[in-house]
């Protein structure tokens, strides 16, 4: 935000603006910037998803729109969705029904405030950054339950209920896995965590000790469940619940759910990158090679690797059942993550 505020100084007669505007303008502008960047990234991710799935399945995927390998396909789809009729079921709870997609999106979007994209490109460096992400990130549950309830559709209700149970269960192992990183850093600030990993690949938490590596795997699995991706996509399991909580949605509101799903993917990938893969820091230590790639691009590339991993998993695995999902969370991931935290703590104290 500081850099945006500095940029805003170049606006003529900026100082003459009222104080409240001067206070709010940087916030607004950074919101818009993040939103725009996120929207583009999501469009790209959707395109990538279609391409990855297509090639795994021996297909080509979109090829026509935009010329080169159908790069504009998702743009066209988004435009189409915006132009489509916004249907509200007759017996729906109209207010909740209309609010739900925005709340779902809000959760994903607001969490990006504390993600450091580069050395100085972040909106805010909260000293409780990680806690904030965990808290805001689970806001989407409320939206999903609202959508499931307000649609007045049994399938939606099932989707909403499943999502609530699933996301809340998986918050626990994922948060505990995050703690393995917080223990050696000793700070909840995202910027501090990235700074602690500066200086090349060997300083990333992923490769620092085996316990954190396992914690990364636990976090990755739990985060998959949190963003409802296969093999944990039971809230929207298309072969069981038609489309889960967004069965009744159409047009722009559906687009928002879609956007939120991919924004959530970006969010968990960004958190994983920041915590385990060194965020925007360079891969090769400065002593060996010049550091040419700018931080934000590097960050984006790392995020993409994790997103690709998510897609790869999605297109090669079947879906779990509800009870198996709970089993995995409470009986596998939770004990493992607890053991990992204890081990990391033991290391931090006695090493």
């Amino acid at each position: 935000m500081e850099s945006i505020a500095r940029l805003l100084q170049f606006i003529p007669r900026y100082d003459a603006l009222p104080g409240i505007v001067r206070a709010l303008l940087p916030v607004l502008v950074s919101c818009v910037v993040i939103f725009a960047a996120l929207a583009i990234a999501v469009l790209f991710a959707v395109w990538l998803e279609r391409k990855v799935s297509a090639h795994i399945q021996d297909r080509l995927g979109p090829m026509y729109v935009g010329g080169w390998h159908g790069w504009a396909q998702t743009l066209a789809d988004a435009l189409k969705l915006l132009l489509k009729e916004d249907i509200v079921p007759a017996s729906a709870d109209r207010l909740l029904y209309k609010m739900a997609p925005f709340i779902v999106f809000l959760g994903a979007f607001a969490a990006f405030v504390v993600v450091p994209f580069g050395a100085s490109s972040f909106v805010s460096d909260l000293n409780i950054g990680v806690l904030y992400i965990v808290a805001v990130g689970s806001l989407s549950v409320i939206g999903i339950i609202m959508a499931g309830w307000a649609s007045n559709n049994k399938y939606s209700l099932y989707g909403g209920m499943r999502a609530a149970a699933q996301i809340i269960s998986y918050e626990i192992p994922s948060t505990i896995a995050i703690m393995t990183v917080i223990i050696p850093v000793g700070s909840l600030s995202m910027v501090d965590i990235v700074n602690a990993q500066k200086g090349g690949i060997q300083h990333w938490f992923l490769f620092r000790n085996p316990f954190i590596f396992l914690a990364f795997i636990v976090y990755f699995i739990a985060s998959l469940a949190e963003v409802n991706r296969t093999p944990f996509d039971i809230p929207e399991a298309e072969s069981e619940l038609v489309a889960g909580y967004h069965t009744e949605y159409s047009g722009m509101r559906f687009a928002f759910f879609f956007l939120a799903e991919y924004a959530n993917m970006f969010l968990v990938a960004s958190v994983a990158t920041t915590l385990f893969l060194g965020g925007w820091t360079q891969i090769i230590p400065a002593s060996i090679a010049p550091q040419l790639v700018p931080g934000p691009i590097l960050f984006f590339l790392k995020v993409l690797v994790i997103i690709f991993l998510q897609m790869w998993l999605r297109w090669s695995l079947p879906r779990l059942r509800v009870d198996q999902l709970m089993y995995l969370s409470w009986k596998v991931l939770l004990p493992i993550s607890l053991v990992l935290v204890l081990s990391v703590g033991w290391l931090a104290v006695y090493w």
Binding site: H55, D58, L317
Partner: protein, 161 residues
Amino acid sequence: MLNYFKNLGLGSVTVLKSMGVAWRHLFTRSVTLQYPTEKWTMPERSRARLFNKIEDCIGCGQCVRACPTNCITIKTEKRGKDEPEIFASDGTAIKLRTLTYDIDMALCCYCGLCTFSCPTHCLTMTGEYEYSVYDKDEHIYHFAKDKLATSKAPKEKVDIA
């Protein structure tokens, strides 16, 4: 407890195996055919739109009897004795004038039974498969139209002669 870890191990290994197979397929050649720009060649026996070479049709009505869905309508009349003898291309004498020969392709079930029953092989199934229309009545193909026109024309000529 042992079982727990065994299952955990089995789960991880099979998941990784699945991912491995999927990964290898990322780089295999895709089988997609870019349809409107690329088209596959239809085998010569392809059974799609029916076509009747009306000049060879003797109006026997075998096809109507063979059709399981009654999609062929045929109306004939006897040709006059004074009219010149005409023959189908395989030499069969055409004794009937086909007034209407309509095929409703919307009803057709593409079984091909009519083509086999046709004695002069004038009714054939072509490889033409792109003939969607906006109005389902456009699926009725009138094959006899041209014949009517041509069959009338010589009659006048005969009169003049």
